[in-house]
Symmetry: C2
Subunit: 276 residues, 2 copies
């Protein structure tokens, strides 16, 4: 009974691979199998190290489902040629998602190549628009992930859920949606109305925590329960918007990466039960 | 002629005292006089070091106007007694503003004492509401300064201009307005509509820059022109909303603080002319 309850409580849990950065795809797949974690979110650089077909085989043989592939996006660039090269790379990401057996490609939309934010936002919209037909043909949905405003110059000019939805709503809900990461959205005074607005378009939900004091916007993310975010309240709002899919634990933090992967997974399960 | 043109171009320039952190009130006043900078924004801790009356005298004798006093706010706290103590401290800040000859007290609203952001936001609204009658009686306006979302756990749960205006608009425009700092608001996809909405309530405008890469949300602010912010575009929007008051240069950055104050002021004048 206890084992069944434990399995039920983990039924939506996904290890986003960056959380165990030192592990290869093989190690992550085997680790999830040992820990009873049913989903894994894969990163393209790790998949490339192992090889695409080998990665797909390893994950399949471990009985895991791939919750998403990270990441597409990075649309804005100074020249048209560079933007075209990035679009090509996004198409390859779509192909990789198909090969890995996931129908969700998460988009980190990209920073501005100069000070002109409006132009960069326009390049994001154009990039999504150009990618959609290819992704739709392949049966892959695009999940626009709004990023924390502190990462605007490094990662994304799309910094609110409202912005992400403004783009997504130009397309069919079966083609473009959003990925919601608590770290990136928790500060937003419009968060809960925008989560409700996202109903039918939520393609992914990522959990971690905002550490206090904040020491690095990119790599200072915390384990659930170690920071300031009302994680459960956000998860309940995402559920209330109809999302019942996997919940990825995605933590970028060198202090966590130093630990053994199995140890990280045990802590994830404990904190997931207590705080998500 | 050149000197006259230079004086005209500096007519709105204010040295926010934190930018020359190593200077006392006396040194800042004398430095501004030497540099031809007509305004100074004072900090309460520096004023306390020099003494309130002495600070007022030094600034007056240098022929400077005080653009604002920083800072009031910090309303949320875990207990009612502590919130009351903070309200008392805010009333003292109002008295100090009067003594220093400025009618603007800038409010840094404060962080949440726990994970409950809604409760903390409520404490901010309550704090402003309780402070208004005292400030109005003294002829001091309260300028709510929205802070960058990366500083939510350290400085303020009010992180957008829209939030600040939602509170300010509950009061007469002659009593409560907003202070707009480019660093805190530049990322906001709703920035320009909200600046337009702020017409008649803009009580201060602060300039600096967002450095890339970002190395510290609190102390990593840059000199105008060294970072990613479209400063002139924001200044023009603020002007278009009818603000014609002082423009404070406010930079928290230990690398700048190391320099001699006169050198900082010369760079400010040059960068102000080129980028603001």
């Amino acid at each position: 009974m206890e084992a069944a309850a434990s399995r039920a409580s983990l039924s939506r849990l996904s290890l986003n691979q960056i959380t165990t950065k030192r592990w290869s795809v093989r190690e992550a797949a085997e680790g999830c199998l040992r820990a009873g974690i049913p989903y894994v979110g894969l990163w393209r650089d790790k998949v490339a190290e192992t090889g695409l077909e080998e990665s797909a085989r390893l994950v399949r043989e471990a009985g895991l489902e791939v919750s998403s592939l990270l990441r597409g996006g990075m649309f804005p660039a100074a020249t048209g040629a560079e933007r075209m090269a990035r679009l090509d790379d996004n198409r390859r990401a779509v192909d990789e998602a198909v090969a890995l057996g996931t129908d969700v490609l998460v988009l980190v939309c990209g920073a501005a190549p100069d000070r002109d934010l409006d132009a960069a936002r326009g390049m994001v919209e154009e990039g999504v628009e150009r990618l959609v037909p290819y992704a739709a043909e392949a049966g892959v949905k695009l999940g626009i992930e709004p990023f924390h405003p502190s990462l605007m110059t490094e990662r994304s000019v799309i910094v609110t859920l409202a912005q992400a939805l403004d783009i997504a709503e130009r397309f069919d809900p079966g083609r473009v949606g959003v990925a919601i990461d608590v770290y990136h959205v928790w500060w937003d005074p419009n968060l809960y109305p925008q989560i409700a607005r996202a109903a039918g378009r939520i393609l992914g939900f990522h959990v971690n925590d905002w550490l206090v004091p904040t020491y690095d916007p990119l790599l200072g993310r915390g384990m659930m329960g170690d920071g300031a975010i009302e994680i459960r309240r956000i998860r309940e709002a995402v559920d209330a918007a109809g999302y019942a899919g996997p919940i990825e634990v995605e933590i970028l933090n060198p202090k966590i990466w130093e630990k053994h992967g199995d140890e990280i997974l045990e802590q994830i399960k404990e904190r997931y039960a207590a705080h998500v």
